[in-house]
């Protein structure tokens, strides 16, 4: 399997009036094509910063980020970013929302429009295509946001705690849902979360980060087959999650 994404000794410091804050010290990992990678770490350790760097929204102070062999520059539609909240535009219909990326990237053709429409239908939003997002439930909204991200066919999908705004029951359902769609579309994905069991249920591998400034402490192979709910039910996942949390705690101290 070839690597789609490679981060090599990525470091990043913020400058504010109060001084310089080192967010990332040296982050190196790679994601294979079609892989689902979970990134966990203590809160405030720079997880979101990593996603911003990969998305091209922030330029690292040093180190390199390669996507499909090419260095990552300003956002160009190769990376799809899903934020903590679904951020559907309330003045656009669900259909218009899903076309947003295509419109911005000037890739709106009959073909791409039909593709977006097919995703809408395929993932059960057809009935709501011409409705406004206010009509959708929390889970449906996340699904619409995912379809919007997939519609412009990004090579890489970034999920920034996409379920944190949902209540527990919805959260597990939506996680199942989103994981299923991603598996079906075969997109390489980075998931950032502070919820270790969630990371275990969703990811093929898990990147463990240290507290800020972040370095990669370890990369764990999950190696548990099945959908998130099947994994959630398996005692192996619980054990693995416990192990990972123990490791994170140790790094805290």
């Amino acid at each position: 399997m070839s690597d789609l994404l490679t981060l090599d000794k990525v470091a990043l410091s913020y400058h504010t009036a109060g001084g310089e804050t080192e967010a990332l010290k040296s982050v190196s990992f790679s994601a294979r094509r079609g892989e689902f990678l979970s990134i966990v770490g203590p809160s405030g350790c720079g997880k979101t910063t990593i996603l911003s760097v990969v998305a091209g929204l922030l330029t690292p102070t040093s180190g390199s980020v390669l996507l499909d062999g090419a260095p990552v520059g300003p956002p160009d539609g190769n990376v799809g970013y899903m934020l903590q909240r679904d951020t559907l535009f309330e003045w656009l219909t669900v259909c218009a929302n899903t076309l947003l990326g295509l419109r911005v990237q000037k890739k709106l053709t009959d073909e791409s429009r039909a593709y977006a429409r097919s995703l809408i239908e395929k993932y059960g939003l057809g009935e709501f295509a011409d409705s406004y997002p206010t009509r959708l439930s929390g889970g449906m909204r996340q699904r619409a946001a995912l379809v919007r991200t997939l519609a412009f066919r990004p090579k890489l999908l970034l999920l920034d705690e996409p379920f944190s705004a949902l209540d527990f029951q919805t959260r597990t359902d939506v996680a199942e849902d989103v994981r299923g769609i991603i598996a079906q579309e075969g997109v390489t994905t980075l998931l950032v979360t502070h919820d270790v069991p969630e990371a275990v249920c969703m990811g093929d591998r898990i990147v463990l980060l240290s507290p800020r400034p972040a370095v990669v402490k370890e990369i764990v192979d999950v190696g548990i087959p099945g959908t998130p709910s099947e994994r959630r039910a398996s005692p192996r996942s619980a054990r693995l999650a416990e192990e990972i949390m123990e490791k994170l705690r140790r790094e805290d101290g």
Binding site: A55, L57, P74, P75, D76, G77, V79, G80, Y81, L83, Q84, R85, T87, F89, W91, L100, G101, R103, V104, Q105, E127, F128, D130, S131, Y132, T134, R135, F152, L158
Partner: protein, 279 residues
Amino acid sequence: MKRKTNGSGELTPHERYLLGVRRGKLIVRLWQILLFIAFIGLWELLTAVGWIDPFFTSSPSRIIATIAELMADDFMYHIGVTLLECTIGFTVSMALGSAIAVCLWLSEAAQKIAEPYLVVLNALPKIALGPLLIIWVGSGAKAIVLMAVLICIIVTVISVLEGLCSAAPDKLLLLRSMGASRLQLLRYAVLPSAVPAFLSVLKINVGLSWVGTVMGEYLVSGAGLGYLIVYGGQVFKTDLVMAATVTLCALAALMYGAVALAERLYTRSKNKRRAPDKI
């Protein structure tokens, strides 16, 4: 819900509630009308019995007579002049003010540089610029329109800019991650977010553009309602002053009504777009 409209005409709790709401609204409206009639009636009565001198306060009947008299003369011309000045002032300040706000949004540096100027200009009593306006553009309708624009435009810039800046940061982040340019941010997220601010400034400016126009007419002008008021005051014709003031009130209310109607139509069309949903 079960409707319980049996023979005795008993109401369900919800119907009773709706009836109560409707009755409450009716009472408010009734009081509003009553107050108006009482005020007019008292005014007329007190002047009729001579408790107050209509030479100073005029009276409703004399105002009506004066308006009728003026109508036969050139009242419509004066109304037309003021209405035109006010409408031009309103439109120009809305368009120009919004355009300036968008430009300031596009350039963060310009926004920061402009900030103290906006604050000072906002605090400055624009009437102080009156003499300068006359020197610059002469003492005609131009000076009046300019006065109206000066009064409205700063508020427009400040409010619209605030509306533009109210766009949710995560929407902007999302668009930026899609590769959106600053103009695309403006088009897809920032302008739609500013619509409520725009509508509210529209209503504020209806009032302010009248202030500006009448103030301008006080300063210069040989026609218009403001001119009639100043002229009436100088020759001690309170009937004329009052007649022009009442007309101003009516026109301002009419213009406000038009803007409020436009806003309602806008929200209704927005709701209608939401209507054909199946759940």
